[in-house]
Assembly symmetry: D2
Homo-oligomer: 346 residues x 4
C-alpha cells in the first residue's frame, strides 16, 4: 500500500505520534460528552494562553468546510454575504456549503490567493456608492486564509491593514487557518498566534492538516461575537459526541508549543524540493514559502512521474503543460524527500 | 478523573481496543483522502456483505445529527417533510438541524418511542383527503430509530408492516441505527442487518455509540436513491478529509462479525441492573430490553446517588420524582455494574 | 360565473370600490418604485397614527404566508424557532414556508386556536429546565393570530398577559392579522390597533382578506427590531416593484378609518347566519364571534347544499358528518346572506 | 407629483388601460382562489397557444426576483448551482435571493450582458475536467435574460446554440423575460414566443415591466420538469390568494396578441431618443435596440438634467462622467419623449 511516493496533500497520514499516544493512554476513561470534559477545557485554556486572549470562546469542530460554513453562517446576518478571494476555499471547493446556509460568497479577484485592504475598501465603498445597494447583498464578513490556498502568506503589515479596514466598516475579519502550522513554521512569517487573535475577529487553528486525526479549533477573541455558538454547532451537524478526542489532540499540540514547531519538517522538505526544482530548471506556477509547491510540468514528464509519485492536479496550463501541486507535511521524511528529488531529476 | 461511576451515556469512552490497535498500526501510512482509500473500500464491501446488499452505496459520516440532516435533506424533495415520532431524535434533540436544511419534521404521537404502520397510513391518507393538501408539506420520508430513543425495538413484523406501507406510498423508510449494535445484541431482537437492508430504503449503522471514536455508516441498498451523495456530504460539512479513519474503524467492526457482538456486555450489564432494580422495588418509567434503563427516582434518592454516580436527566416526573436514564455500553465492566447495583441498594 | 353562492372564503372578490377608484385615478402617474413613492409614505404615516406608534417601521408585503415567513425569519436568530398553536397557519397551511427559511415551528396545543400566557410560560420554563436545552431549538418568538384560524379572538386581558410573559423572557410577540378587520368590527372585541402596537413587537394588518386586491402592512413599533428589513424583504422575494399599489390601497383603508369599519358587513352577515343556524338546529363545531362559522354538517345535507353553495372543507368529523366553514366578508351582501339562510333551512 | 419627466425605469406607472378596465368589470365577481378560477385557466390556455406548447405548465407569480428564486430552486437539485452572466440579475441585484434558497450562482464573464454557447460549454467541460469536481457545485441550470439587463438581445442563432449545448449536457435552460415584450417589439428581434418555448426548458413572460400592475407568467413546456410546483410556489411565499388578478391581466395581454405589440411605443420612443443622442454627440456606454439606453454623461450635464428628469444611475464611469440609464416603456408618450429630447439638446 505504501510503495508509491505520496506528495499529493498534507492529510494523508494519521496523527502525530504524541497525539496517538495520548489517545491510547486515555482511551478507556469515562468522560462527559460534547466538549464538557477536562481535556477539552484544558486545551481551550492552553489555546487562550498561546493566543493571548484570555476571554476567548474556543470551540472544536471537525473539518475545514464544516468550520467555515458554521462560523460564517453564525457570524453573518441573514442579509449579509462573505467577501473572499475568487480563489478562496469557500468560493470554489466547498461544494456550495456556504450558499447552502443561505449566504452569498462575494468574490474579489485575488493576487496569488490574497486580497488586500485596498481591495476590501474599494468593494465596500462601491457597495455603498451604488444607488441600488439595498437590493444587493451587504458585505458582512471578510474571509482570508493564512497561508492561502496558493501557499502564500499575509505579512503582519498586510494583516494589520486588512484588520483596520474591516474594523472601520464594522465587518468581522475571519481567518481560515487550515494550514496555519505551516505558516507559523516559516522563517519568513511574521504573524504570530497572538497577532491573529488581536487582528482577526474569529479564526481557526487547523488540526486536520497539521498533525491531528481531525479537528479545527475556532477562536473567538471577543466572546460576545457569537451567542449560542454551542447550539449553532449542533445545528450545523458539527458537534462531536466524544468531544474529548478534540480536547486531547489540541491539548497535546499546545502543551509544549508543539503546534508552532510541528510544521518545520514540512517547510524544510519543501525548501529542499524547491531548491532542487530550481536547479533542474523547473518552472514554478507561483512562488511561495510554505508547504505547497505549484509547478508547471510538461505533460510527458508528468506521465513519467505518475508511475512513482502521487502529486495533485491543480489546473491545466496549456495543451502540453499541467500545473501540479507537491505538498509536504509534518509527516514528510528526509527519505521520501530525497526519493522525490531523485525522481524529479531529468 | 475516574472516581465517579459513569452511567450517563454510551459515548463516554474512546474506542474498542481492536479499533485503537488498528489505528496505531496504520497511523503513518499515506493514503488518499475522502474515503477513496483501500480501508474504506474494504469496509464498504464488508458492510455490503453483512447486509446482503451487494449494490449498496455505503458512506461514512461522523455523527448522528449530521447523518440525519444529510440523509434526510438528500432524500427529500424540497416540498417534502419527514414523518417521525414526536419523541424522535430529529424532532427534539438536534437543535433544529433538519429544519435548518429547509424541511419540516412532521410528527406522529409515538408509543414508547415507536410509530406503527397504521399511524403512517392514517397520516398519509389524511394528508391526501384534505382539500388543502397542496398547501401543506408532503410527507416524503418516514424516520424511525432502531432501537428507539426510549430503548424499545421494532419487531420484524412491525418493521415489515412499516416497510410495506411506505412502499405502497412510494415514501422511503429511513432507520436511524445510532445504537443498532445494542438491538443486535438483544436476545429478543429478531431484526437482522439483512432485514434492515431489505426493508429500509436507507439506514445507518451507528459507530459513535457502538465502539468507534466516531462515525456512522450510511447504507443505501438501491444506489440510485441518492445521486451525487458525495457532493451532498461535502456540502453538509460531513466529509472527513482522512476518510480512512472511518474505513479502519468499520473494517474492524465488520471483519469478524464484531459489530453484531459488541453490544453484548452492555445488554448483560443492563439486564443485571434491571433485575436489581426490580428486586429493590424501583419503578421503571418504561420497560425495554436494550442498554438504556429509564427509572423514576425519588428526588432524595437521586441526590444521594449523585455523589457517586453520573446518570442522565430524562425528564421531571412530578414534584418529588425525576425520570433518570442509566446507560450501559460496550465498555461497561462487571466491576462498575456491581458497584452501581451496590449503590442502588437502599 | 356567478350563479353559485360563494361562501367558501373571504378572498373571492377584487377590492373595495374605494380602492379600485383610487387605483384608476392614479393609474397613469409615474412614481418611483419599491415603496419610495408618496402614496406609500402617506399610507405608512396614516398607519403609524392609527396605531399610535410614531416611530414604527411600516412595510407592505403581498400575502400572508410570505409575510409570516419574511417576518419570522427576519426576527429570529438562526438558533431559534417560533412558538405557535398547533393549529396556527404557520404550523399547518404554509407548505413549510417557515422551515424553508431554516426555522422550526415549535407547537403548543391550542384551545380553539388560541394559546395562553401560561402555555408560553410553561414551554419556556420547561426548555430552560431541560439539561439538554442547548441541544434543542430555543423559543425565539411567539406567533399568534388575531382573530385566529378558528375565528376566535384574544381579549385585551389575554393579549396583555401574553405580552408580559413574552417580554419577561425577551421573546418578541408577533400577531398575524390576516383577518384583523373582522376582529376590529366585532362588538365583543376589546383589542384596538393601538393595543396591538403597544403589546405586540411586530404585527401585520391584513389587506388581502380585508378589502384589498392584495397586501399586508407589517408594523414594527420599535424600528430597531429588524435592521435592513428592506433588503430582507427583497431577499425573500416579497418586494413589489410598483410599491405604490400597496400604498394607494392602505392609504384608502386608513384615510377615514375605513379599515376599522370595513369588516362590519361581514360580522352582520355572520351573526344573521349564526342566528339562523341556531334556529334550524345546526351544531357548531366551535363558537366564535367573527366572520368564519364552523358547522358540523350531515354528509347528506352537505351534498344537497353543494349544488347551490360553495363552502369550504374544514375536516372530517365522523363517518357521516363533515366540518365545513362558512366565511363572510366585506363584500357579502344582504341578498346573498338571505339566499344562504334560505338554503340552510331544511 | 408628475411635474418631473420620469425616465428612470419601466415600472413607474400602473397597468395598461385595457387591463384596468377588465379589473374594474370583474371586481365584484366571486371566484375561487389561488389560480383555480376561469380567468386564470383561460390565460394559461392563451399563453400555451401563443407559445405553441399545448402541454405546458403555466403558473403566475408576482415579481421577478421571486420568480427567479422560485423557479431556480425548484428546478435545481440540492447539489447544483445556476450558471449566469456575472451581470445577470440573479447574480447582482436580488439581495442574495438565490443563495437564500441554498444554491450558488456560478458566474461567467458576460459580453454586453450575454453569455454564449461556447462559454457554457467551456465552463461545463472545465468542471468535469477538474479532478476535484465532486467537491464543487455542479452546474445544473443556465440562466439568461431576454432582453438582458443591458438591453441587448440573443439572436435566434445564439439561442439555438445555447439550447443545444444545454441539452447536450442535460442542463435546463431558463430565460428570464422580465422585459420580454420589449424584445418582441424590436424590429431586429428574430426570437418568437414559440422559439422560446421550443429552445428554453423554462422561461417567464414578464408582466410587471410590460403593462401589468404586477405578475410574471412562468411557462414550463415539458410539464414533468417541476413536480409539485404549486406547493413549491406556496412554500416560496409566491402564491397569490386572489389568483384571478394575474389571470385577468394575462388574459388581456394574450387575447388579441396585445403582449407582442405592447412594447412598440417604448421601442419607437427609444429609437427617437437614440437618434437625438447621436445627433447631439452623446456617447453610448453600450449599444442595444431595446427600451433601455445606457449613456455616458458628463457629471455637470447630469446635474443640469436632474432638475427636470429622473434617470437611473448605472455606474460611475470616471471622475467626471457617470453612466446613466434612460428607460422607456409601454406608457411613454410622444409628448414626454419630445420634452426629454429637448432637454438633452445642449
Amino acid at each position: 500500500m505504501e510503495e508509491r511516493l505520496m506528495f499529493a496533500s498534507d492529510y494523508m497520514e494519521g496523527a502525530h505520534p504524541a497525539i496517538m499516544e495520548r489517545l491510547m493512554e486515555t482511551n478507556m476513561q469515562s468522560t462527559p460528552g460534547y466538549g464538557t470534559d477536562e481535556y477539552s477545557e484544558n486545551a481551550r485554556e492552553l489555546i487562550r494562553k498561546a493566543c493571548g486572549c484570555p476571554d476567548a470562546l474556543v470551540y472544536f469542530l471537525i473539518g475545514g468546510t464544516q468550520t467555515n460554513a458554521t462560523v460564517i453562517d453564525s457570524v453573518l446576518h441573514r442579509y449579509e454575504g462573505v467577501l473572499a478571494a475568487d480563489t478562496g476555499h469557500v468560493a470554489v471547493h466547498e461544494a456550495g456549503a456556504i450558499e447552502f446556509t443561505g449566504h452569498k460568497v462575494l468574490t474579489i479577484q485575488g493576487t496569488a490567493g490574497k486580497i488586500s485592504a485596498a481591495d476590501v475598501k474599494k468593494y465596500v465603498d462601491d457597495y455603498y456608492a451604488d444607488d441600488n445597494f439595498e437590493h444587493m447583498v451587504k458585505p458582512g464578513m471578510v474571509y482570508i486564509s493564512q497561508p492561502t490556498e496558493y501557499g502564500t502568506m499575509y505579512s503582519l503589515e498586510e494583516l494589520t491593514a486588512l484588520s483596520e479596514v474591516c474594523r472601520s466598516f464594522h465587518i468581522p475579519l475571519y481567518v481560515d487557518g487550515a494550514r496555519l502550522a505551516y505558516a507559523l513554521a516559516c522563517p519568513s512569517n511574521d504573524v504570530t498566534l497572538k497577532d491573529l487573535a488581536r487582528l482577526a475577529d474569529v479564526f481557526y487553528i487547523g488540526g486536520t492538516k497539521c498533525g491531528c486525526l481531525f479537528g479545527e479549533a475556532v477562536v473567538v477573541p471577543d466572546p460576545t461575537l457569537i451567542p449560542h455558538f454551542f447550539t449553532l454547532i449542533k445545528q450545523h451537524g458539527a458537534l462531536l459526541a466524544k468531544g474529548r478526542l478534540s480536547g486531547i489532540q489540541f491539548e497535546t499540540l499546545f502543551k509544549d508549543g508543539l503546534y508552532e514547531k510541528i510544521g518545520e519538517p514540512a517547510i524544510k522538505a519543501a525548501d529542499k524540493i524547491r531548491a532542487a526544482l530550481v536547479e533542474y530548471g523547473y518552472k514554478f506556477y507561483l512562488e511561495n514559502p510554505t508547504n505547497q509547491i505549484l509547478i508547471i510540468l510538461e505533460n510527458s514528464k508528468l506521465e513519467a512521474l505518475k508511475k512513482d509519485v502521487e502529486l495533485s492536479f491543480w489546473e491545466k496550463y496549456d495543451d502540453t503543460h499541467t500545473v501540479m501541486r507537491i505538498a509536504t507535511s509534518w509527516a514528510t521524511t528526509d527519505e521520501k524527500t530525497d526519493k522525490l528529488i531523485e525522481l524529479l531529476k531529468k
